[in-house]
Assembly symmetry: C5
Amino acid sequence: MVTPKKVLKYLYLPNLFGTQRTKEILHVNPTIIPQREEAAIVRTFVYDYDAESVKEFELKTVESCYKFKNTNTISWINIDGLRKADVESVASQFGIHPLLVEDILSINQRPKMDEVEGVLFCLLNMLYYNEKNQTVETEQISIVLGKNFVVSFQEDAKRDVFNPLRQRLKMNNSKIRQRSADYLCYSMLDLIVDNYYVVMERLGDRIENLEEEVVRSSNTRSLAKINQLRKELIVLKRNMAPVRDLINGIIRSESDLLDDATTKYFKDVYDHIIQAYDLSENYRDIMVSMQDLYINNVNLKMNEVMKVMAIVTCLLAPATVIGGIFGMNFDSIPYLHNQYGFWIAVTVMLVIPVWMITMFRRRGWF
Amino acid sequence: MVTPKKVLKYLYLPNLFGTQRTKEILHVNPTIIPQREEAAIVRTFVYDYDAESVKEFELKTVESCYKFKNTNTISWINIDGLRKADVESVASQFGIHPLLVEDILSINQRPKMDEVEGVLFCLLNMLYYNEKNQTVETEQISIVLGKNFVVSFQEDAKRDVFNPLRQRLKMNNSKIRQRSADYLCYSMLDLIVDNYYVVMERLGDRIENLEEEVVRSSNTRSLAKINQLRKELIVLKRNMAPVRDLINGIIRSESDLLDDATTKYFKDVYDHIIQAYDLSENYRDIMVSMQDLYINNVNLKMNEVMKVMAIVTCLLAPATVIGGIFGMNFDSIPYLHNQYGFWIAVTVMLVIPVWMITMFRRRGWF
Amino acid sequence: MVTPKKVLKYLYLPNLFGTQRTKEILHVNPTIIPQREEAAIVRTFVYDYDAESVKEFELKTVESCYKFKNTNTISWINIDGLRKADVESVASQFGIHPLLVEDILSINQRPKMDEVEGVLFCLLNMLYYNEKNQTVETEQISIVLGKNFVVSFQEDAKRDVFNPLRQRLKMNNSKIRQRSADYLCYSMLDLIVDNYYVVMERLGDRIENLEEEVVRSSNTRSLAKINQLRKELIVLKRNMAPVRDLINGIIRSESDLLDDATTKYFKDVYDHIIQAYDLSENYRDIMVSMQDLYINNVNLKMNEVMKVMAIVTCLLAPATVIGGIFGMNFDSIPYLHNQYGFWIAVTVMLVIPVWMITMFRRRGWF
Amino acid sequence: MVTPKKVLKYLYLPNLFGTQRTKEILHVNPTIIPQREEAAIVRTFVYDYDAESVKEFELKTVESCYKFKNTNTISWINIDGLRKADVESVASQFGIHPLLVEDILSINQRPKMDEVEGVLFCLLNMLYYNEKNQTVETEQISIVLGKNFVVSFQEDAKRDVFNPLRQRLKMNNSKIRQRSADYLCYSMLDLIVDNYYVVMERLGDRIENLEEEVVRSSNTRSLAKINQLRKELIVLKRNMAPVRDLINGIIRSESDLLDDATTKYFKDVYDHIIQAYDLSENYRDIMVSMQDLYINNVNLKMNEVMKVMAIVTCLLAPATVIGGIFGMNFDSIPYLHNQYGFWIAVTVMLVIPVWMITMFRRRGWF
Amino acid sequence: MVTPKKVLKYLYLPNLFGTQRTKEILHVNPTIIPQREEAAIVRTFVYDYDAESVKEFELKTVESCYKFKNTNTISWINIDGLRKADVESVASQFGIHPLLVEDILSINQRPKMDEVEGVLFCLLNMLYYNEKNQTVETEQISIVLGKNFVVSFQEDAKRDVFNPLRQRLKMNNSKIRQRSADYLCYSMLDLIVDNYYVVMERLGDRIENLEEEVVRSSNTRSLAKINQLRKELIVLKRNMAPVRDLINGIIRSESDLLDDATTKYFKDVYDHIIQAYDLSENYRDIMVSMQDLYINNVNLKMNEVMKVMAIVTCLLAPATVIGGIFGMNFDSIPYLHNQYGFWIAVTVMLVIPVWMITMFRRRGWF
């Protein structure tokens, strides 16, 4: 039996089509600062290095990092987990403007770059693909580049964004060790942008799977899935698009902190982010094609149903008419008393629909 | 019984789908000045402050504010409720150009920023979300920044837009007290832009609710509701979009009234308004997805109806044909005199549709 | 009875859906000069004024205006009705370049602004809304601003575009009298742009009426009406859009004819034309929503028809089958000789459809 | 009888819907030079003129034009029909760069303007409307402006593009005779751009006819015709759009060949080409509206068919049921032996559908 | 028999609609370097030439090319097949920056141009059309222009992209021999861009074939084919679009490596790439028209089915009703005992549908 409610219910599988996700995507308000929860765990790592040597520390308190400010070596202070007091004290120590502190502590901030009072500030989002919920997740990263130091703040102490960088820092002959702090900053941005491609690959896999589903079965859930994927593309794009301006801002900056020789590297990141954005446009185009295909499939299925109805109606028609004719109670009806009358009538009932179907088939209907 | 009139009537619920609202949105004419009604109530507040002290006055007459023009302290004169005579007299006293007076008194003006004869003028709209009518309402705010004073005009004496600001002014150690008049101006713009996010959250809630409705039941009113929401997005966007230019204009201004140190703060507001605009684009995208989903649901429902018709037609067909065959009045019809003839016929009537349905089901129709 | 021809005929009401109007909109050719008909009536008014006095003349011949060229007072020569000879003689007298004469005499010219040999030239269209034909009509206005004079040319002697200006000129204390010729030019442009809003209000009324019609009845003429309105929006937009460039050109111009103090006023007109253009975009958006709604209504009506068919088919099915069963001529059919057999059969015929409808209704179909 | 094949065949009328035309439009390759066929006929005209006199020559060989290079008078050498050897020899004589020769000989070149080694080069397409095939045809025109000479190359010796110019050259008092070679160049561009309007008028006529067809009958060929027209608009636009840059390039050029006084005239052409482009956008908008209308008409027709089916089904339903009821073979059926029983049954058969139709009609269905 | 599964299966022909292809298109990640496979074959050609002489070498090892760096003649070193070690050693020898080495070795890189430390670097993709898979394939080409040398790297040793160039190099009087290394670089870019047109022609052929298919038969596979073609257009566009910036970058470059006289030639390539891009937009437009036509065809077919059903229903209706009327078992039914009663009834059964069809036909239905 057909159960129309099922048709609508399909869309209501909470894990498939979450209006909850819509809420998360729409409710962005960067202007409210106090909402951020204080991090449960805060981990502070310091890498103090120059071409010759590298020292690695895990600090117990955030305050212990102050001493790394005025060294001749390059210091990378990475703070995982944000607490208001910590950020403020570090900021005041390293000459980071209070407005930037607000940005670091804000949530859902748009990626941006700023030069304030001798430091260069970048805020952008690391993207992750959550396989379980099939959503694009973000982690806000703030990077402060100063003279001989880089301070980076990450939202989540559990995730290890900059791990590959640590490996490279430990290698004596790595380029990162030969160069100044701006190269470290570049390496971090490069790592983040490279990760966008990883997320896009996951989304690309889902698009591909969805396309196969649409092509194969086009069930009633397909459009809901397409819509869900569209939302993740929105999240992807709005985190990527402003990064173009961010990196372009660095390239055009005339800050003393940026070595001319490093500009080439930032240009390289810029090329990558531009290409990532172009690619996300391609994703969108393919999604549109997919939706067209889905709707076409639904229509073709509908046409099939209509055709079956047409056939059955056509099969029914002559039999009904003939049955009606010879079922009338007139006194004199020809063939009624004929021995083969019944068989003639039944034969005609069968011949006419066969002839009709043959004709339709010849005309390319079925 | 089906009542087609109901189908159309649904759209005519005045509180759901107001063509009245269309009129309000379309009939914008900033060029007609005299239409503005004189405010019934006018309330004038003055805050006269510097880093050390703050004095708060509620003036009985607008004229009493003149004396605050040439003080060494910063004076914020806030006039709630617009009367032509008041605005003109204040303007002439504070050196505000007659054209700006026209703007202050106009209604439905596009947000704009201007520097005229030593004062910096901003006109923009505070947005409110009217929960009862589910509409975005506007209140025009004009801010005049001069040397050591800010004069602000609000349309509606009953609404208290700048209340949070008053709290901060009373605090001795607040940043607003340490800085000059341009910081006060910034604080006001910041407050207004922050409120846009509040309105967007309300709209976001409605989008989410509507999405859930579309997903669950997709009734005939859904598209009318989507259309209504689209209109509110139009109101939102046309009030927000010009504010980008307004704040960009302030950042690029070389006016003496603007301290270089304050520019950072205006940049912060600029980031917020840009992000708000981007977000409103996301709203639009999600609305489009929602409409696609709605239309798809309507089509799927239609397909369901067609399928039921197809099934019933198929069930009917063999019974009708067989009934017709054995209802004919031929003399010799086989099985007619057979004891089990009737039961054989009825069995065949039942077996054929069962077989048809089984076959369709195997082919993935139902 | 259904008359399908009526369905198509509806679109053929000449006053509703004029392909004639399409012709008017599409056949624009500014390159053909000689097509302009010589005006039947030409009326020439001169206002010669300064701060102290104003003199008004209605000249019998166009030539009589020459003497106003070299006066110390400001002269506004307004020529209603275009004749080639007149325009050329005035032009040669007032130093207007022959190319500008071509523009003045052309029809369907795109609004433009030019500075040629010491005069500033503006050509734009006054818009009127023709209530009878429900079309947007244009009247080409050319304004030539020179040192101490403004010459304006209007196509149609019967229409009095600049009447409000005349009233203001006669007032001794009006701003227009205190200022130089560029302010007069500004006043004229301001008047024309203000009138765009009047036309838009009329179009807005029609959009609103049409929306109500779509919401209420969605008859077959609605889309034709929407299409017709779209065409008028095309006319509106193509006359308004270039005016933005025109006025921006004046603001950026470094002509000696333009006083710095007047720039503020032109900026005001610029704000108005920008807002008018934004508003026309909103009109378009609402039209799109309206068309979506119309198409949805047509589909919902279709669905209603399908549902009625489904219901009737379902009602018919059991009765037909049962009637067929007991109409068969088998010798032994149960209940046939039962006293209540007939009533049992009829009851079943009624019970089954009632049960079907109940079930469908519970599943949210109707 | 319905013949579904006809439905598809309609689209296959070769002269209606030419995929051949698609090939022509898509297969553009400006990079292949050698494909150009040598012209069968080459005609060379020279006009040698100054303010006082004009001399007209038809040259037998292309080489004879060399002597006109270094005269004090202005020489216009017009070569109709392109042969590689001719173009190359003329080019070398008049100092035209080999790359320009390639451009002149190329086919399907994008309109462009260049200044190379003291000459100014324009390449653009004259457009014609072929009434027979209803296509937009192009003829490539190259214009080389040098000191005191203009050399123009046309593809087709049979067409006389510049005829009106010849008339004007012969008039002693024509402006073209008073001015230098750049004015001749302007006149040629002006002529070409003016002709775009002529082509657009023809396309406008077709749009109007098509609109009337869609409104009146909306037959199955309409969309194919709309598609065909869209293709011609593509041809129109891609030939017009680059001409904007071309003429803008001339206006911004600082070449000595261009007199400041002539710039005004080029600005005039620029205005025309901008307006032509805007107009072509309007064409596109109207085509979109037309297509929406067509699709709506098809749907409305479909709805009509559905309504007729619904009516017939409704008319059939009660008669079938009643016929079935009284056709059953129960022993005791009421009214069966009543004298008026038959007439009562037939009356009910008629009354029910009449009542149904009345009800539907009251509900606004038909 | 209708087999709805076939309808869906059609889309699942692997060679028709490859989701595999979607994967290839979506999975672009230029940030991962190590994925590139080392080329199996590497072939190194050197052309050492000046205006007088040309020498051609096929080198056994890549290292042998070092000696060509500091010669007075122009050296073109072409390396077919990429191996990390080779590229790095050549790079260090010819002063190519390590970042450029990364680019050369990367895959799926966006076309780009860079000037680093005295060399000019171009990376772009040669496009091929794979007739078998009907896909657009790419081969990455890197060109390094230095003082007196050009080093080019190609991915695939089997393809001979620059063959036509070799022919021209061997000709003594060819322009390429007379000029410096930048002209060689231009010739290579020109060759690549020219090839884009070849690929577009192949795509154009497919569009044309597909259009003919849509027009003729519009089978269920057509949309899948359109979608597939859309994907190839995505590949085409994303490889072509950045080349515009690349060549524009060369034109605007102020590098000493570029002779002013060569700029003209680069402008020529620029014109070609712009036109190619415009053309690809036209392709897209025609694809959109085609899809509209396809959907319209599907709808028209559906309408045909509906019409047949309507006709059959109409034919069935009177016969069923009349058969029902005279099949009732009332005692007194008129004409029942009439001799011609049966024939009258059958005649009416036939006359009514004939009359209905006549009426419908007159109203333009069929």
